[in-house]
Amino acid sequence: MEQTSNKVIVSLKDIFVRFDGEVILNHINLDIHEKEFVTILGPSGCGKTTTLRIIGGFVNPESGDVIFDGTRINGMPPHKRNVNTVFQKYSLFPHLNVYDNVAFGLKLKKLPKDEIKQKVKKMLAVVDLKGYEKRPVQKLSGGQQQRVAIARALVCDPEIVLLDEPLGALDLQLRKDMQLELKEIQRSTQTTFIYVTHDQEEALTMSDRVVVMNNGVIEQIGTPEEVYNEPVNAFVADFIGEANILNGTMIADQRIRILGKELPCVDKGFGKNAPVDVVIRPEDINITSVEEGQLAGVVEKVTFKGVHYEMSVRCGKCEILVHSTKSAAIGTTVGLSVVPFNIQIMNKLLPFYDNVIEAVVGYGSEEENYFEFPLEDETVRVEGHFYPEGTALRITLPPEALSLAGDGMGDLQDVYIESVVYKGEHNEIILESDERKWLMLSDTDEQVATYVPLSFDFSKATFETVNAAQEEK
């Protein structure tokens, strides 16, 4: 951290990328400082690799600027950029040995032979591969190939090294060793590293700053401590580390109601009675006697994890995860308490809870008691209700009225799953269709960044006719 200067080396301004009509990056802005280790973290399909490829020059944004050292470099081909990449699958040249792989970039720079030899030797020593010069790369282990790839990028003395999930193919122990080694290499070479991963632990271990992305936007940028301790929303809290994320209401400044109890907290400025998301890390919850606790619950599960016990405590309908050095017997009622500082309040991911759609009836049949209305290029049929053609309606669908349908079924096809957050009772799933977002409750864990058909249960919906006069008002 102390090594990072304040000079911005690369800056992405209002970057927008679309492939085949699908938005990959939705107007992102990002500044990266000299000598900084920045990690771009997010689930697969969030746009992190595309962000890296824009800096590398392999993808050109549809709009927005890439500024490198004060100069706009949009459209500059990769070979003219002073940036080198460590690719996900290493991409070592199979027809060259270790030495020639590492020397590849230097030979292109037309450096004298002696200098190339000296630099390659030095770099192989840095990545701990002394004496491997003549080995064919296919004969190396995954970790060794990884090191060759890093040496090949670093030896060119780039201003930025881009790393695209470089540890993904390694086993856990090797990953952990390599994480520390990478950080050490970055520190000793004083180079800017931009690292892409979906592994939150990796991001927290190595980075000076973490950029959390989801669905083509940057959710939060901050130091590892900041994104862990002060996540800006439920997505970040859920993605990084373990967390209890609960629905809460701000009673007043510094007063929050969760699980039916009022608790003191430190956040303010959300407005009176505002619905909020609350995150409490499992290690911040203390087990107390029932009388002393702010909340009370029944212990349902206890697992010994070495440093602590992991307990699942049921408070009413909600399941709360607690990490504690003290254990409690299953079935006993315990008190739970949290210091106000450790209750993190966040704005809701969506500004609404119930899904409200405005629609005009396209066709209605009184005798068969149904009507149809157009919704995002599809026709939705509502059984059990009748409104004549042309009626303007406001339909309110609570989250529990939404469900994911099987293939080829459903009222809306191909709805994108943007996030899935467990709220102690249900998963709250945020979906994105062509024109709007939806909130849905589900007890199953859905895969984010996939497309699913969505169907509506209109027996749980409420219908209101909207008259023209009301509209004008």
Binding site: G56, G57, F58, P77, P78, H79, V83, N84, T85, F87, Q88, K89, S91, L92, F93, P94, H95, F104, G105, L108, K109, P136, R152, A153, C156
Partner: protein, 263 residues
């Protein structure tokens, strides 16, 4: 044990249809009409040295021309969209479904005096003989064997990992140097198998020269074809010599290929 049992039919096949005929050819080559050991057939075979060398020369020329045509073509095809690639490869393959003799005969018609090419060039004042010479034989051979050069090169080139090309660009390669430093060395195995697949059959081919070549453009395959009816000892001897040459060529190519893979 089980794998040995499974390979038995193939071993029997090889024995009956490859090894025994090979031994028979060897025996025929080293005997005379009375069945005694003799090297007369080889001595007589020497009279065909010129034809032999010319055949190898034509085969070599055809192979080189095939390579010069097929390599850039394979490279261009690999740059196309996958669906277009399939179509182009299909178009290259379709003529191969036609009978070999018909295709050669089509060339005879195209190149003969008064044929389409002659008529066309005469109209703009160029006169000449396009048929019955060595050039026509080479044209026929190139046409015949081009797909055998294209396919292996295309297959190998198409399998080159795109990320290797990106890695080369990332390290400072422009288009020309990506080609020279990555695509060319990695496509060598395809080139080697293409050369083998074209040179070997074209060295021993027959009929092409009979139809398209002049009177002195007879190839060793044609000689073997004819001579077997009158003197099978010389025919067998010629076949053996040709086999040895092809074998030498294959060994050479493999050696070259191995070195290329290590370098």
């Amino acid at each position: 044990m089980k794998s040995k049992l499974l390979s038995l039919p193939y071993i029997v096949w090889m024995l009956v249809f490859t090894m025994i005929p090979l031994v028979m050819i060897g025996v025929t080559a080293f005997t005379d009409n009375s069945g005694c050991f003799s090297v007369d057939a080889f001595v007589s075979a020497f009279q065909y040295t010129n034809i032999f060398l010319k055949s190898l020369w034509i085969a070599l020329l055809s192979t080189v021309i095939c390579l010069l045509l097929a390599y850039p073509l394979a490279y261009i095809i690999c740059q196309m969209r996958p669906s277009t690639q399939k179509t182009v490869i299909m178009l290259m393959m379709i003529p191969m479904w036609m009978n070999f003799l018909l295709r050669i005969y089509a060339w005879v018609l195209l190149l003969q005096n008064g044929g389409p090419l002659d008529t066309l060039l005469s109209a703009i004042g160029i006169h000449g003989d396009y048929s019955n010479n060595t050039a026509a034989v080479v044209v026929g051979m190139v046409y015949e064997y081009l797909p055998f050069m294209l396919l292996p090169i295309y297959t190998v080139m198409g399998k080159i990992d795109k990320s290797l090309i990106e890695a080369a660009q990332d390290l400072g390669s422009n288009k020309a140097s990506v080609f020279r430093r990555v695509i060319l060395p990695l496509s060598i195995p395809g080139v080697i198998s293409g050369i083998t697949m074209v040179f070997v059959p074209s060295a021993s081919t027959f009929v092409v020269a009979q139809y398209l070549g002049g009177t002195d453009d007879i190839m060793i395959g044609d000689v073997i074809d004819k001579i077997f009816f009158t003197n099978n000892h010389i025919g067998a001897a010629l076949s053996l010599v040709l086999m040895v040459f092809i074998l030498l060529f294959l060994v050479l190519m493999n050696k070259f290929g191995d070195e290329e893979a290590i370098a």
